[in-house]
Symmetry: C2
Subunit: 327 residues, 2 copies
DNA sequence: CTGAAAGCGCTTACAG
DNA sequence: CTGAAAGCGCTTACAG
């Protein structure tokens, strides 16, 4: 900027005005404006956003903290967040927690120090302090996919309870009676709600059987899911269907169903929470629950932008998920 | 920092020294050091990395420009890049090109203005200028997955030609003769090499038949893949196998194979370029090509760091991919 | 061992 | 319509 100003015999301030687009109105003459722009192009001027950020106090970037970017659900979510942020002129810094509270803390601390203008995050078990730290700084933040019920903060989720209950109702209406659930034992509402929806639906029809509820430890999932499948296969009363509470559990579960020679859907039907883009590589029918990922990602950004512009009413968004069929 | 200095009757400079970890040696007394740290903790001091960046000229962040973060391959790649960057204390800003040269240009321009210390990118067709722009700035950059052959720059790829030729050889050795290929018609070496590997292997055995080469237009892929499958099914000489040159093509292709009632592997075998984490939801055998994604991502970061530290020898890394079986 | 000062590249009141 | 100056929060020679 100084160089441009020198060449043109202008001041740095004037150059700044036109290059940052604040030259409208009668502030700077058309003539000057034109000359500055031309010279900037000639000298191949590129603005330094870091300097601008320090000066304005806005970094024009937002932080996104998710479990794991290589997971299809979060990959999709991040994609839509990024595309939406781009529309507002914002850039996105992502980081992974791998469900660890330490990594969660580190990720957020780094983002805060980088002076992001807002944060979208997927809460981690035992990570309440981290969310509070952001809020104490008065920085806009929105939780996605899960939320801490004890903290009054923005969140966007789907109605996990309702859609889980509904999908089980659908199976019951089809005549299936013995329905199992395979779910992580993690203490997060997204998961507990899914399990509870299942329980209530079956209970209402007097079909609940505790032996059909399989809770899986996250660390040791492969082994535990395998055992759950074998167990369900060997249940003296034939099991009609299995409701898998998340993508990974479904994939592993179905793998072992194949290994055990369980015919899908003839012997057992399957339900998957979340869509998998490669459902079509198998030709068996899968009932699945589809979250409105795009809407969720876009909404998260919209809320963030609203809050950045000063509105600080807390938003608690609950979207509806849909029940769909792969074939 | 000023506040801490004031409270302690020290200068800002001294505080900066200890808080940025440059107080080693005899530079600052142990006593002062201790007091500063304690006060910083008490006052809950959080460094402003933006200010530091402006001062040091290093942003401690790198840019990653990929096709689409919601794609499993790029999601995995990005994950490993992020984890590796974290080890070096770097943060990652990602953006998607959706294969568009305009978005590619915009993404890189934004990153440059944000003063990233280096860029890892997946080249886009017709995007040479963008890469040159980065290099003109003397900013470290490494291409991943593909590269522009006319530009002397770092890249990390796998030997697409060799592994494609090898996988076809494997099929031939198994006794399969009529092998088809379904591949995008995009003019990028990753894709053209795969097709050429296929062609050369078959040619060597006198098994090449142009009717079995199906080039797919990216924009209209669903329809074109469908037509290709029907066409192959109706080929008067039975087709024994199909080599799908990428993940998406495979998923769509297999979908239509199921729709057309083609039995896999009894009637036709299938080969997929790239691993899909949900292969196991189907119980048919799939031959696939597995890229060392983790090594590629880590290496990309390593090279970037090397170049940032002044080494500017150009690295052209070619990794080997492996042939694997889903069952 | 510590302080005073300049500088990183911008923006933005304030004067004129 | 334009300029001079202060300031954003750090770092880093340079003195002492």
């Amino acid at each position: 900027m100084q160089d441009i100003a020198d060449k043109l015999g202008l001041s740095k301030g004037t150059v700044s005005l036109v290059l940052s687009g604040k030259a409208k109105g009668s502030r700077v003459s058309e003539e000057t404006c034109r000359k500055v722009k031309q010279m900037a192009a000639e000298m191949n001027y590129q603005p330094n956003e870091i300097a601008r950020s320090l000066s304005t106090g806005k970094s024009m970037s937002i932080g996104v903290v998710i479990t794991d970017i290589s997971n299809e659900f979060f990959g999709n979510l991040t994609f839509h967040i990024q595309e939406q942020a781009k529309k507002y002129g914002y850039t996105v810094i992502t980081s992974n927690t791998n469900e660890s509270p330490e990594e969660f803390y580190d990720a957020v601390t780094t983002l805060l120090n980088k002076q992001v203008d807002g944060i979208i995050l997927v809460p981690v078990d035992e990570g309440q302090e981290v969310l509070l730290k952001i809020m104490k700084r008065n920085l806009p933040v929105v939780q996605v996919d899960r939320y801490y019920p004890d903290i009054k903060a923005n969140y966007i989720i789907i109605d996990n309870y309702k859609v889980s209950r509904d999908v089980i109702e659908v199976l019951i209406r089809k005549g299936l009676q013995r329905i199992a659930v395979v779910c992580y034992d993690i203490n997060l509402n997204a998961l507990t709600d899914r399990r509870q929806g299942y329980i209530d639906a079956l209970d209402r029809h007097g079909l609940l059987d505790p032996a059909l509820i399989k809770n899986i430890n996250y660390e040791n999932q492969e082994e535990e899911i395998k055992r759950a499948i074998i167990d369900l296969k060997n249940n003296p009363d034939k099991v009609d269907a299995i409701f898998f509470c998340s993508r990974r559990v479904f994939i592993t579960g179905v793998k072992y169903m194949h290994r055990e020679g369980i015919k899908i859907p003839e012997e057992m039907e399957v339900v998957c929470f979340d869509e998998i883009d490669s459902f079509s590589i198998t030709n068996m029918p899968i009932t699945y629950i589809k979250q409105p990922i795009r809407k969720m990602g876009e909404k998260a950004v919209d809320i963030l932008m609203e809050q950045m512009s000063g509105i600080d009413e807390i938003k608690e968004c609950v979207f509806e998920a849909e029940i769909e069929y792969s074939i």
